[in-house]
Structures are given as C-alpha cells and as structure tokens.
C-alpha cells in the first residue's frame, strides 16, 4: 500500500542520516544524527520500523563492567584487599592475625583475600609467617589498572576488552543474586543497527520534494501568524492512544459508594460504630442468649484479655439483663437463665452490623426514622475463595408508628429492585434470634439463579423495649461481598482486597451499572 502520510521532522532527520551513513547503531544515531534526544530517536525509530521505512539489519550484544557496592567501597579506600595484603607483607607484616586486626577491611575480607592470593601463588605460608612468592605483575594489580582506574575516570569498561585473567576475575566476583555484596556488576547491552529501506528512500524523496510542512502548532506560530498559508502535516488516526496513568478509586469502594448513594436516596441516614464491640451491643442487646451457639468461641473473634470497649450505661444493661432472665416488662418469659453481667463487657470483633442498629435504637433515634450502615464485620472462618476474615454488611432499621410485616415486605421488594436489580424475588420465613416475624429475601440472579438477598424482620419487643423504643422497628442485613463480586465479575473473594496493583488496575468497573434500579434519565 502506498505510504500516504507525511513524514514527521524527526522521521525525516533520521532517514536522512541513515541515507548518508548506510547503517548505524542506536547509540551512534543518537549522538551523531542531530536528533534532539534519545526519546525523540526512539519514537521516530518505532514509527519508521512499524511502517517499514527502516529495518533492523543486525544486533550486537556487549557487556560492560560496573562497580557493585563492595567495589565502590574499595575504590574509596584506593585499593582492594589482595593488593593491600601484599603491601602489608612487603612492608614486613608477616603475621596474618596482625593484618586481620587492621580496620581497613573486616576479618572476612582479609580472609578471602588471603585465600585468593594463596590460590594464585602470589603469597605462601612459611614458618616465619607470610611471604611474597612473586614480585612481578599480577592479575589483581592489572585489574586495578584496567578496571578500577578507568571507571574512576568515568570511562566505560567493556568486558570483552579485558585481559583474560582479569575478565575471569570480574566474572567470578559479579554474582547474579545478592547484588548488595557484589564487587562488580556486569551489564549486558544490546546494540541494534538500523538501515533505510527502499521504501524509506522513496518516502524521503517525496517528502523533500514537497517542502516543509507544519507539525506541532507552537505558541510562536500563533503569535507571529506564520501558520497562515502553511500546510499541516497529516497525523495518522488509527494508532492506539498513549496511556495515561490515572489515579483511581478502589473498585469495591466504588461499589460501596453506589450502595450508599442508593440508601441515602431512599431517605436513610448513615450509622457508624466501632470495629471492636462489647458483647453487650454485639449480642446481649439483641436478645441473643449468652449460651447461643453463635456466641461460641468458634463463631466470633474475641479480643485478648484486658482490652475493653466503652462500658454501656448501667440502666440499659439492667433492663437487658432482666429481659434475658425473665422478660422484664416486655411481655416475654425471657430465656430463663442467669445473665452474666461481666460477660457484657467482653470485647469482640463486631460480628454483625446489627450491633450498630442496637446502638442507634438506644441513642434516641428519630421517629419515623430510617438508618443504614455499611459495616465491616468479622467472622471466624477459614480464608479461601469464598471467605474473608472481614467482610462488608449493609445493615439498617426503619422505625415508625404502625409499621408492620407488609411494610417489611415492601422494603425488601425495594431492595430487590433497587440494590440487587432483580426482577424476580420471593420472601421466606427465616430465623434470627432478634426478629419475629423474620423474613429471608431471595432474588433471582440472571447467571446464578436464586441467591440469598438478605435477612430481615421486625425487631422482637425484647430488643426494642429495653433500649427505649416503643414503635415497631424493621431490621435488615445483608452481606455485600457476594453481590459486589457479581457486579465486578470476580470469582475469588480475595480479589476484593488484593494487594496486587496490576490486578486492581485490570478490574473492569462501570460504576453506573454497579447497583440496580433506574434513574430519571429520559
């Protein structure tokens, strides 16, 4: 296909250079072609390569030597342990332990230097201590001369240019791992050679015939008006856009934001509360007997001895205690056991968002009132693809004179439609220790079929009356993690809290589609 697009000035520059020299390496082009910088060269080269106007003729690999952290410390000292050791011996210090005592290098370095000198036959051990076996040129001195000295002057040292013995020494002292202990670091470079193609030559000729075109529009042009009458170089339109690194909110937090918006739109006010709860608010105030299975050590995380959460008011504790024991003034017969007041103070990781509802009831809520919370809760579970140690629950209450079972069903219908986006749903009797009647909402998910959509009920009088609320209260709760996974297309719940930025960046989120229900858009 004929190349229709004009050449960019950078491209033209590069092509001209290659036409002149025939073949050239990347580094040579950058330094000699007149292109402004390496970045400009790389961009121009990629464009030209992709359009077949230049081609890669060959590649050469080369290795250069640099100093590692240890090597740099030798350079600062002005010598390496082997040379220093020979120097000490030459000056008559023949007792190795005495040399080891010098603080120029540490014990281990002196030791390994002695080892290398013995192996190289430069030093021998005799009855009188250490002696030099050879006074002539040696690989260590050579190494200092051809590696350390040029590097200290900022010159490049190529591995292939070193004498064989020195090259071996350098290789043996540049470990691939533990670079922090390396004397040398070997860097390999690939040199690429480019040539202009026949097609490139023609494109350049065409471009030169056409004269200069305007590329980027500059402020100078606009000020001076030189753009008038100029011909603008056409840009290629079907290239992928360059990537912008953007900040972003966490996908799960965006899901929670969307749920929060829904509830506020439905007239709910948000509740907040502590992560470490007293057993009082977590269980007792919810009329869960202290012997209830969900309060066992294997169902909730308890906090170590000696820690506490703020003490609830004694009058409220008394009313709750009495209700547990014999029903108090609630018309109930109670659970008929001895309520342990000390247990109310034990600190537990909030196991249900209902704890927040209990706190809200006790704090003199508005009537009529609607409250919700996005509560992080904890449950004693093995962490796997479907369980996290902490999870988000949406939780709430509705208080009002004359509220009844049918309002409860109406509220659940609203959740099914607005939050879960379900067209089909059903209500079933459920069991929760703190509600009666209790209802479970089931919603039909397009992919998964019937799934649980939350539990709800009217709070038992044994819950409301001791906390000072006399009107009926609807309570409901629902784990959000699963719905969020569905909305985000995840199959492993651990991905909701992944520490891997690339996984996080790959998550595809359409925040406007995260929760159900329509808006008012025409």
């Amino acid at each position: 296909m004929e190349e229709l697009r004009d050449l960019h000035p950078l491209e033209r520059e590069l092509l001209r250079f290659l036409r002149e020299v025939g073949e050239s390496s990347d580094t040579e082009i950058v330094s000699r072609s007149g292109l402004p910088d390496e970045g400009s060269f790389r961009r121009a080269a990629e464009w030209l390569l992709s359009r077949g106007l230049v081609r890669e003729s060959r590649r050469e690999e080369s290795a250069t030597v640099e100093l590692g952290p240890v090597g740099r410390s030798y350079l600062e000292k002005g010598t390496i342990p082997e040379l220093a050791l020979m120097e000490e011996v030459r000056e008559g210090r023949t007792d190795f332990r005495e040399i080891q005592g010098l603080d120029m290098f540490d014990n281990a370095r002196w030791g390994s230097a002695l080892g290398s000198l013995l192996r190289a036959g430069l030093v021998r051990k005799t009855d009188r201590g250490l002696e030099l076996s050879s006074e002539g040129e040696n690989v260590f001195r050579l190494c200092w001369k051809v590696v350390y000295e040029p590097l200290s002057r900022g010159e490049e040292v190529s591995l292939s240019g070193l004498p064989e013995g020195v090259a071996d020494l350098v290789r043996s002292r540049s470990p691939k791992r533990t670079k922090s202990k390396a004397e040398f670091v070997i860097r390999t470079h690939v040199t690429r050679y480019l040539q202009i193609t026949e097609k490139g030559g023609k494109a350049l000729e065409r471009s030169e015939e056409g004269g200069e075109t305007v590329g980027a529009i500059t402020p100078e042009m606009l000020r001076a008006g030189t753009w008038k009458g100029a011909s603008f170089r056409a840009y290629k339109m079907d290239i992928p856009p360059s990537r912008i690194h953007s900040g972003r909110l966490h996908p799960y937090m965006r899901y929670l934001d969307a749920v929060r918006r829904k509830f506020v739109a439905m007239g709910f006010s948000e509740m907040r509360g502590p992560l470490v709860e007293s057993e009082f608010w977590n269980n007792d105030a919810l009329f869960m007997p202290q012997f209830h299975p969900a309060r066992q050590i294997h169902d909730a995380y308890y906090v170590e001895e000696g820690l506490s959460s703020p003490r609830p008011e004694p009058e409220i504790v008394s009313r709750v205690a009495e209700t547990h024991e014999n029903g108090g003034d609630t018309g109930s017969r109670g659970w008929s056991y001895r309520f342990d007041r000390n247990r109310t103070l034990r600190a537990v990781m909030r196991s249900q968002g209902t704890a927040l509802s209990a706190r809200c009831l006790a704090s003199g809520p508005e009537v009529p009132g609607k409250y919700f919370a996005l509560a992080r809760c904890f449950r004693y579970d093995q962490v796997d693809a479907t369980h996290l140690p902490d999870f988000f629950q949406i939780e709430g209450i509705v208080l009002g004179e004359g509220i009844n079972l049918r309002h409860l069903l109406g509220l659940l219908k609203m959740f099914a439609e607005e939050i879960a986006g379900a067209e089909e749903y059903r209500f079933q009797p459920g069991y929760f220790p703190f509600t009666e009647p209790s209802v479970e909402l089931h919603v039909k998910h397009p992919a998964l079929g019937w799934i649980e959509g939350g539990g709800a009920g009217l709070f038992r009088p044994e819950v409301c009356l001791p906390l000072g609320v006399e009107v009926p209260v609807i309570a409901w709760g629902l784990g959000l993690d699963r719905l969020a996974m569905l909305a985000m297309g995840l199959s492993d719940i651990r991905d909701l809290v992944t520490p891997d930025l690339s996984v996080l960046r790959r998550m595809k989120i359409r925040a406007d589609k995260l929760v159900g229900g329509g808006g008012g858009d025409a």
Partner: protein, 552 residues
C-alpha cells in the same frame, strides 16, 4: 445450623406426600424455615435454620411439619397408658447429673431407615441441642434385657461394666480413659468422685450416661420392637423436651409409648414425681388487634385458627378479641406473643401478604465522617493516587517485624491463623505489602488507603479511628512526593500544614516529621527507611505519611 440427612422415600411415607418433587419440597420446607442443601438419589440433605426448634431435626419432625402444613394438626401422645413402671433417683444425683426422663416404645418393629433416623436424631439432640451431651444425653436400649424397676444413681469409678462395642468388662474409670467415647466425654465428669449410672432391679449397670450404654442392652438392631429410652442431663427443660421429641418421633413411626414415672428425693420444676414424656403445653396469648397490626392485615377467627392448625398448635381460639394458642407438646420455644403471630403468618404463607411501600417521609444523610472521607478521596485521585483496600486483620509479623510499627495494637484471643491475628493499628503495612507484590505493575506507584484502625489506650480501652495513609514508591521518589501530596490535601481542606522534625524507626533519620495540621498533631510523614523496604523486599525508594482524619 443443624443439617440432617433423610431418605426421600422415608420422608414421603411419613409425610403422606407421595409425589414430592424437589421444587415442591423446597416450597413446603419454607414452612419450617428449612431448605434443601442437596438431593442425591434417595438421600436429601436438609438445612434447618431455626436453632430453637429441635423437634424439626429429624425426618419424623420434618415429615410431621409437612403433614400438618398440608392437612392440619394431629394429636400427639394422647392415648398413653398410665405409668406402671418407675425410675428411682438417688439423692446424690442432685450434685452429679440431676435429671432423668425415661419411656418405653413398643409394638413397632424398627426397620433400617427408622434405626438410622433414630441414631441421627439422638446425635442431633444430644450434640447440638444438648450442648455436646452436657445439658442432655440420650440412650436407647432393648427393653427386654432390662428388669424393672430402674435406678438412677451414683457409682464409684471402680464399678465394673461392659460398654457397648467393647470386648469385655472394664471399670468406669477405664471406660473414660480407654474407649473413644470415654475420652470424648470424660471432661463432663471431670473432678467427680462418683459417676452417674442406670442400674436395673438386679443392680446390673446398663447405662453410663453421658458416655455409653452397656453392651447387653445398647445393641439395638433392626427388628427390635421394644425400646427403652433414657435421657439424662443437667438442664430440666432440655432433658424433658428431648425425651418428648423422641417419643413423638417413635409414635409417628407407629410405636406405642409407655410413660415412666420418676421418683426424685429432691424437687424438680415438675415436683418430685414427674412422668416422662412430659406434655409441654405452653400457651401464648395475643390481642387479635395487635396480631392484625403486626401483620398489617385483618384476619377472621377461622383464618387464625386455620393457620395455627397448620403449624400443629394443639389449640387456637379467639375469645373476646384475644387469641390463645397452645403449642404442640414437643415445642417450648414460645417466649412472647410475637412468636405466635409469626406462626400465623407462616401458617398463612408469606406470599399471602401484599408488600406495601413505607409512607413516612425521612431525610437521608451520609455520615459526616464519610463526607470528609469522600472529599479526601476525590482530591487524592485528582492528584493521581490509587485507592487500596486491605483487610482489617493483619499478622504480627507484617505490623511489627517488617514495618516496625510501634504502639499498642489489639490482638485476637482466638485467631484462626497468625496471618490474621492482630487488628491493624496502622494502614502503612497494607500499603507496603501492596508495593512488595506490585513491582511488576507500571510506575508511578502512588497509593492510599482510607480506613479504620483500632488503637488502645493505657487502660486497655479500644477505639476505632479513621486514618489516611499514603505511600509513593519509584526510582526517583523522595520525601518531596509524600510532602507535596499532603500539601495538596491541606490546601484543598484549607488547613495549615507544618512539619516538625521527629524521629521514627520506620523512616530515614533526619527525613521524618510529625505532621501538625492547624497546630494539632495529626500523624507522621517521612522517607521510608531502607531497612523497612529491604525487609518487605521492595527495591525502590519510597515516602509515606499517615494521618488521622480528625484534624482535616
């Protein structure tokens, strides 16, 4: 939640519902707050959600509820003969294991499914409802091997006895140390000098509750048609209810129940001479107007009594605007009139109640803390930062050893794994962990988490606090990056930022500071110490800050 396994054909026969399809059963199970967990060939696994209804934890109980839902209530244990045999209780039992309830079931020859069901309900009642055999434990025996009357009394640990399934006789103490069941339940008898046993008229020990039966009487087999059941335990109601439920189950199978009188030398809630199985007849009373106001609908008297009959209530009558219901003998979970009101709703079916929309007007509000958090998140994202979300529970290693976090943090008393054993007191470890596994993700890395941490004061009082942490990592990152982000935040909040030189082991000496916002200490900022980076395996420099939101 208890789960039971029932035979599909057994369930159909007992319930009288011959053509039971999965969807049909699923629908009917809602009546008893239960659902199908699995249905493979003839075996159905059913999950029962009501932890207060142990009567449902057996195929007989499920079948009974389905039957009543279809055809209305039936009688239970109505034509029992007067008790002619008795159990005598020794006075010492009051301090050992005070209560016992026994009955006999005759005239029904156990078939395979019935025996399996019997074993399963014994297990569910004793383990789940009976508190792992503490509050109540159950034994079944071949009644023909027992000579009446029976005694319930204490025995020294040296008493010799042949436990079920063992080669020969051994002492009770040996039963506890040498047999599997013995070791499993020995803790229930710990510290006791005398153990509970049931002996027959010839002084032969035939049961060692709550551990094991004797080999002679306990070997119940298909074809047996004369059973003796003992329930012993520490809680009166649990013991009696378990016995009554088992008697109803066997009666539903076709057995005749012969009650036994128990003679106590001490008082029980039912006197010194109660009869088992006890017919619980808890009654609940509710104003009809209240019932109608809770359910949001008007109901005729017959609708109410019809609904309660489907729930097997013995009696449901409306007199002078008041509804009185008597629960069936196997239930004692009626605490409050609302429990009966729910039974009316379930008996009628939830589908018969039309949802209505709430009408009261309320104003919705986002919590002020969340409004602030959202504001900060927006500003941070605008500055190119990425939001991170990490679990609240962390490991001691990540918080302390790797990150060098100081200050007290909440430790769990019962962690499941060390990985999640501490409640985070700082968000930085989570960000450092993110960086440590994200070296392959394109740079720049500028991340933040806004979330709750828990702090502990000197008195051990815990408090959740909203905190913002930021971490930047990359080849050319220095203190300036974190500082400029923090500066941007403070400008957006129109507050004054000051840094006050301060050392912190997490940061490079001389490059860390206390953050003061409008003069108040808000947190720390610094260049992350290479030792911290090294321990996390991060090979690029980083800078970070962590501040409480209270000052912003």
């Amino acid at each position: 939640m208890p789960k039971i396994e029932v035979g599909a054909s057994d369930l159909k026969r007992l319930s009288g519902l011959d053509s039971l399809s999965p969807s049909d059963l699923e629908e009917r199970l809602t009546l008893l707050k239960a659902e199908i967990d699995d249905w493979r060939k003839d075996t159905i696994k059913i999950e029962l959600n009501d932890t207060n209804r142990p009567d449902l934890w057996s195929v007989e109980g499920v079948a009974r509820a389905l039957r009543c839902g279809e055809r209305g209530r039936t009688d239970h244990l109505r034509d029992m003969p007067a008790p002619s045999r008795k159990v005598t209780v020794n006075a010492a039992m009051k301090g050992i294991r005070p209560y016992v309830a026994c009955f006999r079931a005759t005239g029904y020859s156990l078939d395979d499914p019935a025996l399996e069901a019997l074993i399963q309900s014994q297990e569910k009642l004793a383990e789940s409802y009976g508190g792992k055999r503490g509050r109540a434990a159950i034994g079944f025996h071949r009644a023909e091997e027992i000579s009446f009357p029976v005694s319930y009394g204490p025995a020294p640990p040296s008493t010799v006895f042949h436990p079920l399934g063992e080669e020969g006789e051994m002492e009770l103490a040996e039963v506890l140390s040498r047999t599997e069941k013995g070791r499993q339940y020995a803790h229930l008898l710990e510290g006791m000098d005398l153990y509970p046993v049931l002996t027959d008229s010839s002084d032969e020990v035939f049961s060692f509750p709550p551990v094991i039966n004797s080999n002679a009487t306990g070997r119940v087999r298909p074809g047996d048609d004369d059973l003796f059941c003992d329930v012993t335990g520490t809680d009166w109601e649990t013991v009696q209810l378990a016995a009554t439920i088992l008697a109803c189950n066997l009666e539903d199978r076709g057995a005749e129940i012969e009650p036994l009188r128990t003679a106590y030398p001490y008082e029980t809630p039912a006197g010194r001479s109660p009869v088992a199985p006890l017919l619980f007849a808890d009654s609940l009373e509710a104003e009809k107007a209240r019932m109608e106001s809770v359910l949001g609908t008007t109901l005729s008297d017959s609708e109410i009594s019809g609904a309660l009959s489907r729930m097997d209530y013995v009696l449901a009558e409306v007199v002078d605007g008041s509804v009185r219901g008597v629960l069936p003998p196997y239930r004692c979970d009626g605490l409050h009139p609302v429990d009966m009101i729910e039974d009316v709703a379930i008996g009628r079916g939830y589908h018969s109640f039309q949802p209505v929309r709430l009408s009261g007007y309320t104003i919705g509000r986002v919590s002020p803390r969340q409004l602030l958090a959202d504001e900060l998140r927006t500003v941070l994202v605008g500055m190119g930062c990425e939001e991170i979300l990490r679990p609240v529970l962390v490991s001691e290693t990540k918080l302390r050893e790797l990150t060098d976090t100081t200050g007290r943090a909440v430790r769990l008393a019962n962690p499941m794994t060390a990985e999640y054993s501490v409640v985070r007191s700082s968000l930085l470890p989570g960000l450092l962990e993110t960086e440590s596994v994200s070296g392959h993700a394109a740079y720049p890395h500028r991340m933040f988490e806004l979330g709750e941490v828990v702090r502990v004061d000197d008195d051990g009082l815990t408090a959740s606090e909203e905190v913002l942490a930021f971490l930047a990592c990359g080849n050319d990152v220095d203190l300036g990056v974190a500082h400029s982000i923090l500066g941007g935040l403070c400008r957006a909040r129109m507050v004054n930022l000051e840094l006050e030189e301060s050392e912190d082991r997490r940061f490079v000496p001389g490059r860390s500071a206390l953050v003061r916002i409008d003069g108040e200490a808000a947190g720390m900022i610094g260049e992350v110490h290479p030792a911290v980076l090294d321990r996390w395996g991060i090979d690029r420099p980083g800078s970070a800050f962590e501040i409480g939101l209270a000052t912003l």
